[in-house]
Amino acid sequence: MNKILNKRIMIFVGSFGSGKTEIAINYSIYCRKDYNQVAIVDLDIVNPYFRTREVRGTLNLKGIKIIAPEGKMAYADLPLISPEIKGLIQNSNYHLILDVGGDDIGSVVLGNFEHFIKELDYEMLLVVNSYRPFTQNLSQIMQMAQEIENSSRLKITGIVSNPNLSTQTDEEVIRQGHTLIRQAAQKLNLTVRFICVDKRFSQKIKSEDFDEPIFYIERFMHLPWNKF
């Protein structure tokens, strides 16, 4: 990917199950290649499983700082917000990735930081998977964007196109889904900053197939029966 994404604070929001966590993890690894001080913040106060905190070990090994409830509290479904986050938001040495919980409910947590984030060099990207129940058509995607802006009190600055059916994704699924997400982005007067494509398609789907940059995604959230 080119350097469109050079903002110091990158916030991923979106509907429940749109893929924010996987994208935020992948993006933090990508970001770490260029910057020494990278931190990912697990702000998910909605989901009980499949959260950034589950890959703490992997991220630490890659030299990425992870801010998430620790110890027993890592297993809780409580709205725990570390006091460290405010400091990191204001620390200009850090590139910060915020993985926010789903829907407007999950975005509420951003309201807590809104007054000092909005002064800073930030980007808030709406992750959209057009195969999820509440973002399947233009009006639903528009509504989701509006609700998240209302509850976070921050403006969405771009779209991340993440059309997929998990393991049942194929090229046609990506192409069709992306066409819809692009239309939604146009209606919202936003650009699609990048398209997420599972890295298993890296030989089949090339950047010249799309106008927008492709971000190849590796999956970190595994199911217990997956071989890896």
């Binding site: 199950g17 297993y75 999820r132 393991t167 699924v173 071989k227």
Partner: protein, 351 residues
Amino acid sequence: MGEKILMKGNEAIGEAAIRAGCRYYFGYPITPQSELTAYMAKKLLKMKNAAFIQAESEIAAINMVYGAAATGVRAMTSSSSPGISLKQEGISYIALAELPCVVVNMMRGGPGLGDIQPSQGDYFQATKGGGHGDYHLIVLAPSSVQELVDLTMDAFDLADKYRNPVMILGDGLLGQMMEAVEFKERPKVDLPDKGDWIITGCKDREPRHIVPFDLDPSVLEKWNYNLGEKYKKIKEKEVRYEAVNTENAELIIVAYGTVARIVKTVISNAKEEGINIGLIRPITLFPFPEKVINKTADNVKKFLVVEMSLGQMVEDVKLSVNGKAEVNFYGRAGGIIPSPEEILKEVKKCL
């Protein structure tokens, strides 16, 4: 063919219920099934002739289901382990009243308040009654998000067919994981007419009562016998299971739900090491697939039951095998999911 959509297990149950004609949902949120309650709120509140109520408690919710079911509508409630315990009194009443309804339990670690990780510790509660008195639920145990969809739709039909509460017994992992699903066109099923028993206002007819109570023990005994006859019929007609690689297997694993999914990986891992094992996956936990297990025990002399509990379904497997083969057990509890590697290690210990 319907369109494919990527859904969390909990959302998929909600959509399947609505497509099966359920318009009345009563619940109280609890992790890890709250997405189902949230989904029903989002959808049902926008529909006509529908009701979504977040009740003041689980006890209230199940009694709302009881009332709704008595009017003949398709009604549902859902919860996770501790919340299901609270619903047991109502479920027992519904069982004697012979009302059709669907109850979803996405199990979590127990006993007590436990934790919020996946578990299968409620097998006894689900299959042996759960509340007081002599009764059974029909218990369906899905193993994928697509099966959550299909079995939820079947659950409403089975409930109507037998006028019996049906439980979907899943776990937190099935509720939280995401898979692509399809809502297929379903063949029309002939179901008994509800017109002769529902309570919808007695204008121009004799009043009816639905009361799970009779002071005369001979009447109550007769009702119990009727229930017994019904369960016998259910055992004859509704058993479902999946058998994988059971031909020439050295050992058969019996597992349901999430664990069965893991066991499928174990089967292929074992094959790579030259070990041939099979799986019998009960899809109905009540009625339990006794016959197929008993028959399999004629040829295979070793069984391993794997559960996310310290040993519950293993009792039904032992009863089914009836001494014809060795039945071993491996379980993890408290919300821990066994890995394919540790199950394979147990397989090797048994061989």
